[in-house]
Every structure is written in C-alpha cells, then in structure tokens.
C-alpha cells in the first residue's frame, strides 16, 4: 500500500478566467494517509483548484500529479474519486441502480451493497434519487466515490446545504472511512468542519495558500491577544521591540499590537505613552481564519508556517 509518491502534488498551479485569477501559483503536497482541509471563504479558488486537481479543468500554468501520475490515469485506475458539490445524479434512477450503473464504469469495484452500507444509505437502495433529500443524495455521491476504493478521496464542500444532523452523520461516515488509511482532501468554508475532521488545514485566499499546518499550528496563529489603543504618532518600532510582540499595525490614530504578553504591552502603553482607550481582546480560530482570509497586512506577517510545501 505504501507509495513513494505523494498522494497529491500541485506545483505552481495557475488558472485565470478572463481578468480573474482564480488560482495563483498554488503549490501543495499531500502525503498518503493525510486528512487535509482546504479552507477558505467562497471565491477563494477552492473549487477551481479541485477541478484542476481532478483534470476537469486545464491549468494555465503548473502541474498536477496524483499518486505520481496524471489525474486522467488516476481516474482510469480508480485511484482517485470525488464527491462534488451539487448535481451529477440522475433523478429517475433508484439509489441502487445509480450505484450499479456507476460500478459498471470501473474495472474493479467494492460490492454495491458494501458501499451503500458504508455511506449509511443501505435502507434507501430502492428509493428514486429525485425523491432523496439533499443529505441523502450527498451520501449517495459518497457511496459512488467509495466504489473504486480510491487511494485519494476528494470532497468539494460536501456538506453545503445540509442541516446540522445531516452534516454530523455525513462526517461520521467519512471519518470511519478515513481510518482505513485513505488520503482525504476536502474543501470547506466551515471552520468547525476543518477543525474537527482534518489533521492538517490549508488556508486559501485569492487563489493562494496563506497558511498551512496542523490544526494545532493554525490555532496557534490565533493564540495570544490583541491590544488596541488610541495613540497618535505611535512608535511602531518601539512597540515591536517589546517582549512577546508579534505584530504592530497602525491605523490612523489607532494602534493594534498582537502579542503573547498583553500585560507588558498594556503597561508600556499606559506608563510610557499617551495611549488612551486601551482594549485587550483574545483571539480564536475564527479570528485567525478571518484575518488570514481577508488579508489584513499586519496579520499576514503572523503566518509563521511555510507557504506551500
């Protein structure tokens, strides 16, 4: 089972649509067995990157390798399978027919009954696809993706439009499956999904990777506190030299200091400067996500993880 090749290797991937650069020189390497969240706001280029990865779109520049081969080869041998956001199902077929039909496209598959079982829809086998709920259809897509027993499973925002219960059940099925050592790459704009189900989070914004690390590492980006004060003519370099300070940003009369030691900064501001309105807030993963994906310059410097791989 072990392979010398990375499960996914994207190098300098670029894709433009007219004046819009959807993917901008993106490089990413995923090792076999990793469960990776591709996290970013809508329009960050996640879906385009996945289309390029799967060979559904051709990159303007850069290369895609899946398990050492081209996407087409990987698909032909059933080494990669994907669960796309919407569509892709024939409403007039039953669930079981859809699975049998799709199975016939492959050289070798797991038994249809088994994939229905694993996707948790064995009891829906005879239902017409058009009569299934969005969550049930999504689990059918997952069942179809399980058919070739792929080494790499790609999911593009798989829980969009599902209710809380549907999302939970869906991820339970994915998690149970990932334990078998399958590489999983999923795109999402739900922070909690990335946090709960991924070993590694790749944050994307405007077609670029802005942070890449374990969930713990990404969370660390948001560790520490933010000290904000009104201080005209703040001495940016002086503040940056304080112990624990990671970044200083001046916005008009305001100064924002990101620091591991908020007490020291506050003491300095209140005793050595004319700072007023001192405010100390702690930050969470949500803040890190927002900061990294909306691109405030000072915060970008906080990205200590290597960009790309």
């Amino acid at each position: 089972m072990t392979s010398a090749h990375p499960a996914v290797e994207l190098a300098g991937l670029t894709k433009t649509f007219g004046p819009v650069t959807a993917v901008d020189g993106l490089s990413l390497r995923i090792q076999p067995g990793e469960v990776v969240a591709f996290l970013g706001p809508n329009g960050a280029g996640k879906t385009t990157t996945i289309d390029l990865l799967l060979g559904l779109a051709r990159p303007d520049a850069g290369t895609v390798r899946i398990l050492g081969g081209t996407p087409t080869e990987a698909i032909r041998y059933g080494r990669v399978a994907a669960v796309m956001q919407t569509g892709g199902l024939l409403k007039d077929l039953t669930v079981a027919e859809t699975v049998r039909l799709t199975a016939s496209f492959y050289g070798r598959t797991r038994p249809p009954g088994e994939v229905l079982e694993r996707a948790g829809i064995a009891d829906l086998a005879d239902r017409q696809v058009g009569k299934c709920s969005g969550g049930q259809q999504q689990r059918l897509r997952f069942a179809l993706a399980l058919l070739p027993d792929p080494d790499l499973m790609v999911l593009d925002e798989p829980t969009t439009g599902m209710d809380v219960e549907g999302r939970r059940e869906f991820w339970q099925a994915i998690r149970a499956d990932a334990r078998d050592g399958r590489t999983v790459l999923f795109a999402t704009h739900y922070l909690d999904e990335a946090d709960a189900y991924a070993d590694r989070i790749v944050l994307v914004r405007q077609g670029r990777i802005v942070a890449d690390g374990t969930t713990a590492e990404i969370k660390n980006l948001a560790a520490g506190r933010l000290v904000r004060a009104t201080l005209p003519g703040a001495d940016q370099a002086g503040l940056a030299a304080l112990p624990g300070v990671e970044a200083v940003e001046v916005r008009g009369d305001s100064v924002l200091v990101h620091t591991a030691d908020s007490d020291a900064v506050a003491r300095h501001l209140l005793t050595r400067t004319d700072a007023r309105d001192v405010e100390i807030t702690s930050r969470n993963l949500e803040d890190a996500f927002l900061a990294l994906t909306t691109g405030q310059p000072a915060v970008e410097r906080l990205t200590t993880q290597p960009i790309g791989a």
Partner: protein, 268 residues
Amino acid sequence: MTTTSTAPAVTRTDPSARRPPALGGFSPTVLAIEIRRVLRNRRTLMFTLIMPAVFFLLFGLPQRGQELPNGRPVTAWIMISLAVYAAMVATTSAGGAVATERALGWSRQLRLTPLRPAAYVATKAATAMVLGLIAVVIEFAVGAAAGVRLPAYVWLLAGLGAWLGSLVFAAFGLFIGYLAPAENVMQFMGPILAILAMFGGLFVPLDVLPHVLQQIARFTPVYGVGEIARAPLTGDGVSGAALANVIGWTVLFSLGAARLFRRDTARV
C-alpha cells in the same frame, strides 16, 4: 481534534489489482440500465410507442380495403410510414437524453469515472437503436393485429429499413443533445420531428404536396428513410437519391455531434 489516520490498511485495494474497465466502460450492464430507464419514462413511451400505434388505428384503419398500384394494401403503406416515424421519434429522444444528462451534471460526474466518452456515446446510440427497434416492432404488431397481411420478406426488409434508417435520428438526437442546454429537449423537438416527418412523406404521400415542396422535401432528413423502408412494399426499388439522402444526413449529424461532443468534453 482527530488523530492522524495511520491505522494499517485492512480492506484496501492493492494497486496492482487495479485496472481500467474493458471497452472503456461500455458494457451490457450499462445498456440494460439505460434501456430500462428509457422504458420507465412515461413521456417517452407515450410519444414513441403508443402515439404512432394510435395514429395507425386512427388514420390507417379507415383506409382498409384500398390498394396500392401493385395490389398491396394501403394500410401497409401507412403502417410502414408510421413505423419510420415511431423509430425516428424513439431514436431522437434517446439521443437527446444527452441534453438532460448534461443539464443535470451527470456527464461531468462521468468524467470522474473511467468511462470513456466514446463508450458513453456508443451506449447512447445503442440505447437509441434498441428503442427504435422496439418502436418498429410495436407498430408492425399493431398493424398485423389490425389485419395487415404481407409476404414475410416485405415485413423483414421494410422493418430493417425503418429501423436501420433511424440511425440518422440517433445521430440527430445526439447532435441536438450536445447542442441544446435544456433539460426538456424533447418538448421542442416533438414539433420539429412532426414537420420533418411531414416533409418525409410519412403522414401523407408527397404527391399531394405542391411541386416546389416536393422538390424541397427530397433534401430533408426523413425522405430517404421513408423511401427505403417502403421500397419492399411498393416494389419501386431504392433510388440513389434516397440512399444518398440517408447517408448524407447520417454523416452530417454524426460529424456535428462528434464536433459538439469534443467541445463539450474539452470544456472547462
């Protein structure tokens, strides 16, 4: 936090056991499911299998007792014409199903499977031809039950002519299927097919049309099939014009479909 999934693979497929599908994914399983899908579609059944049969009972039966110049029954002439009509509607709708599947994103989904695009098109064409055959057989069965009597070779050759000639419309359906963005492509195809059938002399003999229309009709895509399918009955023989008509339109629609199909599969 999840733990890293380093658990040993227990049920995983060995890479050496992986192989691409035979024939690019074209298989009897696919064909069987496709045909079942088509037969489950009430609209298709209505327009391809039931309506032409009803047409025969409505317009064919009143002509009972009338004879063609060579002494064969006029009802047979009508039956064969309507069999061609049934087959052309059947094959067009089966080919046109591509439009629905494109609209539903199914063809995009297929690109994530090893199914070769050519195998997909071959399946669609084969489904169309099976449906076309069923359409011809049903029309002939209704005719026979209603008293049409013909020598065995006429049944066989006329049936083969109507069926094989409908290949034109399997290609036409695929062409439209790749051209139209709509999910319900057959809703606007129905009237177009009826007009083509009219010009092809399937509803009334072309002789009753004004001379100019008769001349135009010879170049429309139904004309050739109709002539060829009725030739065993009338004994007139197959004209070069009819043969050229069928071959010409089949090639034209096939090339058109192939071109659109390539554009479709290359699209980003």
